[in-house]
């Protein structure tokens, strides 16, 4: 029995609103390029966590179609179980009809109780979708609801506004210079090949190239524990009791860029981007992760990276585009 769930969204800060059903029922969701399912809590769920969130009531929707299929998604140490149904999903004015989605029946543990979101809208490839459910963007494209088979993300540092997910196009007002394209190396997550990670010209990780996942559903910049330890040490971050890498805020003015080279192009991340300032405290934007690296090193380019680089997720050509935000 799981006791906690959804631990990967512990630090997530960016949320959008969608609606499901007729008349529409609104939900706050994470637009997550690191997963592929859409799910929201439902009135079938009697977990305490569900009671404190908005719940989809299929009986209140005239367009809902039930199925007998079940859904189970494991996130970290816990899981969500539920059933699959079809209904109209409205996203950014797009009316996505016959969209399959998960209605959660159980969300175990206390963890989700305090989550600032109701559900998750996955934007990765269908190959990693649980129960083979068609992802929202695939359905949009299949129904001819978007003019281009791509979407893009701009994340603002502004506390209140400016961040946006754009479906079906690219708005050049969100970036400077030109977009640099990187082929997707494996069509599951938005996975690409990274050449190296350097500080002051010295390679500190990913020496012989490595894989990286571009994930709006991960807040920080995650990499192998040993490599992250080296970076934390280099920038003077030390772990506190809450597992965060605390660092002096004054270091923002003196620390060097961490440079990610991808497909031959350098993407510098300045200290002002990888040191996260809240009130008088500062923490490192890097975090370690334990993963079997027998197939090679893996990095997660989360919101810390995406805030600096406007990102295009191009399904038509299976490539990711980056430009300075």
């Amino acid at each position: 029995e799981s006791t906690e769930s959804l631990e990967n969204y512990l630090d997530t800060e960016y949320f959008g609103t969608i609606s499901i059903g007729t008349p529409p029922q609104e939900f706050t969701v994470i637009f997550d390029t690191g997963s592929s399912n859409l799910w929201v809590p439902s009135t079938y769920c009697h977990s305490l966590a569900c009671a404190l969130h908005k719940r989809f009531n299929p009986e209140d929707s005239s367009t809902y179609q039930a199925t007998s299929k079940t859904l189970s998604i494991t996130y970290g140490t816990g899981s969500m179980t539920g059933i699959l149904g079809y209904d109209t999903v409205k996203v950014a004015g797009i009316e996505d009809t016959n969209q399959i989605f998960g209605l959660s029946k159980t969300e175990p543990g206390l963890f989700f109780l305090f989550a600032p979101f109701d559900g998750i809208l996955g934007l990765a490839y269908p190959s990693i979708s649980a129960s083979d459910a068609t992802p929202v963007f695939d359905n949009m494209w299949n129904e001819g609801l978007v003019s281009q088979d791509l979407f893009s993300v701009y994340l603002s540092s502004d506390e209140q506004k400016g961040s946006v997910v754009m479906f079906g196009g690219i708005d050049s007002s969100y970036y400077t210079g030109s977009l640099n394209w990187v082929p997707v190396s494996h069509e599951g997550y938005w996975q690409i090949t990274m050449d190296s990670i350097t500080i002051n010209g010295e390679t500190i990780a990913c020496a012989d190239s490595c894989q990286a996942v571009v994930d709006t559903g991960t807040s920080l910049l995650a990499g192998p524990t040993s490599a992250i330890s080296s970076i934390q040490s280099y920038i003077g971050a030390s772990e506190n009791l809450l597992g965060e890498g605390t660092i002096s805020c004054s270091a923002i003015d003196s620390l060097p860029d961490v440079v990610f080279t991808i497909n031959g192009v350098q993407y510098p991340l300045p200290a002002s981007a990888y040191i996260l300032q809240e009130d008088d405290d500062c923490i490192s934007g890097f975090e370690g992760m334990n993963l079997d690296t027998s197939t090679g090193e893996l990095w997660i380019l989360g919101d810390v990276f995406i805030r600096q680089y406007f990102t295009v997720f191009d399904r038509a050509n299976n490539q990711v585009g980056f430009a300075a935000a």
């Binding site: 004015g93 946006v164 809450l242």
Partner: protein
């Protein structure tokens, strides 16, 4: 035509748990691992 969904920045779950004094208890029994979101290693074969 570009369809835009505005995103709002809200207090994270971690901050909510810190404010309620629950994060340390959680961390006593769990070690959050960002890798656990992702499927087994064969998903990363390039």
């Amino acid at each position: 035509v570009v369809h835009k969904v505005p995103l709002v920045k809200k207090k994270s779950l971690r901050k909510n748990l810190i404010e309620k004094g629950l994060l340390q208890d959680y961390l006593k029994t769990h070690s959050p691992n960002p890798a656990s979101k992702y499927f087994p290693k064969d998903a990363f074969a390039s």
